[in-house]
Amino acid sequence: MWFKSRAHKKLEKVFNGSVHQYNPPKPPSNRTVQEICNTASMPHWVDTDQIIRDIRKK
């Protein structure tokens, strides 16, 4: 369990019990963000914006 940071207390003050602190199951990886993102390979062009817009139309 992590100690409650100032940010955590600030959010809890407003949202009471609705704040869920995400505790990752594993220790942080050594890979950089760029390395992580480069692993998400996609062979074709995809308009990620359009996908989000479609999700939000529902």
């Binding site: 949202f15 062979p43 995809v46």
Partner: protein
Amino acid sequence: MTSAKSKGSQKNLYDHPLPDDKIIFWDTNFVISALFPSFKERYENLCSKATHTPLSIAELEERQNLAYLFKRHQASAAFIERLIQSEMNVAFSSILFTEVYFGIKYIELETVYGSREQAKKELGDDPKILTQHIPAILRNWNLFLELLGKFPGRIFAINPTEAVIVTEVLRLRIQYGLTPNDSFHLATSITSGCKDIVAFDRALTNVGIDEGLNVWCTFFQKKDPGVARTPGLGNRPE
């Protein structure tokens, strides 16, 4: 005497100092932008083709769009790295998890079936087609979790259970006609009392600024040659 609500501002992912209260909200579009450099290959093909053949108008527009999205991907990934280095706290509405799942699923299907329409048709005809895509979807989902894992103890998902959030969602829906999901993201950010959200959605950005938030949405660097810094979120070619 009532004072008019002061407007927020646009922030640049590279240039501006991070918020003093050490909390920043995320919109789903930002996470998806950071995760997927999908357009690089297609962009490079078009650039390569342009060296020996004039591109059609449609191809030129596509290349411009791809350049925008690729820059945005780079900026988003660099911004996450910046947040990690500065030990920032990240908060978002818990609907982000569902949206990221849908985003990852459709991205995977679209890469296989060529177009979004075809992917939707295939899925509608037979949901069992998802079976063969489970490994790819899970792989990308694990990358998303790996990103979250870079913020140990500093990720806060806010469940939209408080009446104050729902009231704000309804107000945003009525006043600005925002989509429900946009409204949830923005309402959570507004009611938190924090001032900063990173988002690229045009409607969400405009409303956020009107509501007094600092919206982190621009990412062109001063050193970028020949790239105009247009006002508004209009960095994206229409």
